[in-house]
């Protein structure tokens, strides 16, 4: 779990925040509320998750409960991996 969090945080910081100041994003912060990701960014995040973790994300899984924070993305990836195992 910690490894997934680290990968997601690195992607978010590298592509949307551009600093390594860890305090700028809590794992439970809403990407939308914080204004970190817009619709294009979300498409990029989805593509990244799919490639990085070898999971297929269905259209009906593209909802805030699965994708709107580091914690939610991490839980979603874990669920997908468990289901695929």
């Amino acid at each position: 779990m910690e490894a997934i969090i680290a990968v997601i945080r690195k992607f978010i910081f590298d592509n949307y925040i551009f600093t390594s100041d860890d305090s700028l994003l809590d794992n439970d912060d809403s990407f939308l509320e914080k204004g970190i990701i817009d619709s294009t960014g979300m498409l990029e995040l989805i593509a990244f998750i799919g490639n990085e973790f070898h999971i297929t994300i269905e259209d009906d899984e593209l909802i805030p409960d699965n994708l709107d924070s580091v914690t939610k993305v991490t839980s979603f990836i874990q669920r997908k991996r468990t289901a695929a195992a």
């Binding site: 204004g35 817009d38 619709s39 990029e44 259209d59 593209l62 909802i63």
Partner: protein
């Protein structure tokens, strides 16, 4: 009589009957001022839902009560007619209450883009000379980050605050939540008498220009009422409408949706984000949406959502697109995805309150790529540089006339004189007319980048990039993007003896610019192809960099 003719007559009779209820709107109101749209709608439909969101809603009666409380509070705080009051709010109902409350107090609205930066906010507050700002706690971070003085700003009202005082602000602070609940109005002061000057300033909307910082477009009550009348007429809006609103109200397009639907006493289903298309589509189904408006990227995102074809929208009457050119291919895909909805292709600009033309849905297949003809009350000419109309098929600049054309740019008579000339508003858009009078945009005269729902001036971004110590020169322009329409690209020449990464440039931009103005692509080059006077030739540069490997990229 054919079935289609019969249906056509039936809808015309229905429209005539329903429009009788909209007579005050269509004819202009005796008591002038766009705040009357809300007063009229609340009087007719106090319990009807004005705004529906995923988990809450607001009736016309509630909307009016909130607006009146804000108006009363503003008057107690000595706001006077003509004052500019800022709104930095992304809650749809609070935004609408603030908007109409400000107008009821006789002041003018300055709706601020909530995707902002401390620097952008400071510049706009100072330029518009905003005296009072209505905002939400989550945006306080921008105000706290402002490092220079804002001499005109004297009061900030903040909603959703956990406590009554917000430390660290440069000016006095009030609790907007208390105001909206009537806990702060002692009613000591009478509101000013109803506005009777339709030429009074109603709103400043900031829009990007090619020559530097965004400019405030001055829209009067008469401007906005003229455009609202046209919109209601050509969309045949009635109180039965249930429109899906995905665009923020602070955009001129979103503003026109807000005004026309309040004026019609209609219902707006609001979710101002396309990040999760499923959320929008589920809401449209749940609330039986009759209309949907968007910019090209709205539809590009929807079409990228494979599940779209599994939805059906039996109530959806029409779809409207504006906010930049949509390719005929994308338009055809939208039409195929929503076969039973009439598709309106529209054109406008903030300086026109904002709408100027539309392609009638019946002409969609016959005139692909056209932006149609002028909306009611507007005249559009295609002129040569001397102001003479060009012949059909020839390219000229679109010049617009009508009561919807702005009063001018705020505190910028020179820029105003450049675009408002005796022929009308020179739009900067190059177009041609066909033999039947249909308009086709050929290109933009200006370098404005239209990315998503945003209109972005390259110079503002270049200026910021040039502030980086390692940068010698920068050229910013738009390059084609499947989703955004255009994405911002920055070409940079580094000073000799220095080093700099794309990430450093992006971080610098992110610190000083709203996120949507941060370049998506960064290219480092040794030199620019230049004109005789040394200006970068961006068309040539664009061709060169499209063949280069990118040195850095970021999502918007």
């Amino acid at each position: 009589m054919s079935i289609s003719l019969y249906f056509s007559i039936l809808t015309s009779v229905f429209w005539l009957l329903t429009s009788a209820f909209l007579l005050p709107v269509l004819s202009g109101h005796a008591n002038m001022g766009i705040q009357n749209y809300l007063l009229d709608a609340a009087a007719r439909y106090p319990d009807k839902k004005a705004i529906i969101e995923i988990s809450k809603s607001c009736s016309y009666g509630e909307l009016l009560a909130g607006a009146e409380r804000i108006a009363a509070w503003l008057c107690e705080e000595d706001a006077v007619p003509g004052d500019r009051i800022g709104i930095l709010i992304d809650d749809p109902a609070e935004y609408a209450m603030a908007y109409f409350g400000i107008l009821m107090a006789g002041a003018a609205v300055v709706a601020l883009n909530t995707q902002t930066s401390a620097r952008t906010l400071r510049d706009t507050i100072n330029d518009a000379e905003i005296s009072i700002l209505l905002t939400q706690a989550k945006f306080i971070k921008y105000i706290r980050g402002i490092d220079q003085s804002m001499p005109c700003l004297r009061l900030i009202a903040v909603s959703s605050t956990p406590q009554h005082s917000v430390p660290g602000l440069p000016v006095r602070c009030a609790d907007l939540t208390d105001i909206l609940h009537g806990r702060q109005s002692a009613g000591r002061k009478q509101r000013p008498p109803a506005l009777d000057d339709p030429g009074a300033l109603a709103q400043l909307i900031y829009t990007s220009g090619t020559t530097g910082k965004p400019r405030g477009v001055m829209l009067t009550h008469a401007n906005l009422m003229a455009n609202t009348r046209s919109i209601i007429e050509y969309h045949r809006l009635t109180g039965e409408e249930r429109h899906m609103v995905v665009l923020s109200f602070f955009y001129s397009f979103g503003n026109s949706i807000l005004l026309s639907h309040i004026a019609a006493g209609a219902t707006m289903i609001v979710h101002q984000s396309m990040v999760y298309p499923k959320v929008v589509l589920d809401l449209m189904v749940r609330e039986r949406a009759t209309g949907l408006s968007g910019v090209p990227s709205t539809f590009a995102v929807l079409l990228s959502f494979a599940l779209l074809q599994s939805y059906s929208f039996p109530c959806l009457r029409y779809i409207a697109q504006a906010g930049g050119p949509m390719s005929p291919r994308l338009a055809q895909q939208v039409k195929s995805a929503f076969p039973d909805a009439a598709l309106y292709i529209m054109y406008g600009q903030t300086e026109a309150s904002p709408r100027l033309s539309y392609l009638h849905p019946d002409d969609f297949h016959r005139k692909p790529g056209s932006i149609g003809k002028a909306i009611p009350g507007v005249t559009l000419l295609v002129c040569d540089s001397e102001g003479a109309p060009v012949k059909p098929g020839e390219t000229g600049e679109i010049v617009a006339c009508g009561d919807n054309i702005m009063a001018g740019y705020w505190k910028d008579p020179e820029a105003t004189a450049r675009v408002l000339r005796k022929e009308g508003l020179w739009t900067g858009d190059l177009a041609r007319l066909d033999d039947e009078g249909y308009l086709y945009i050929v290109s933009r005269k200006s370098e404005i980048i239209k990315s998503g729902a945003h209109r972005i001036g390259p110079l503002e971004i270049e200026d910021i990039i040039l502030e980086h110590a390692a940068v010698k020169a920068a050229a910013v322009f738009g390059i084609a993007d499947d989703i955004l329409g255009e994405a911002i690209a920055a070409c940079i020449i580094i000073k000799s003896g220095t080093a700099c990464t794309a990430r450093e440039i992006l971080l610098h931009c992110r610190e000083h610019l709203p996120v949507f103005k941060v370049p998506k692509h960064v290219f480092f080059v040794e030199s620019f192809p230049a004109t005789a006077n040394g200006k970068a030739r961006k068309d040539e540069l664009k061709k060169i960099i499209l063949g280069l490997p990118e040195t850095g990229s970021a999502a918007l």
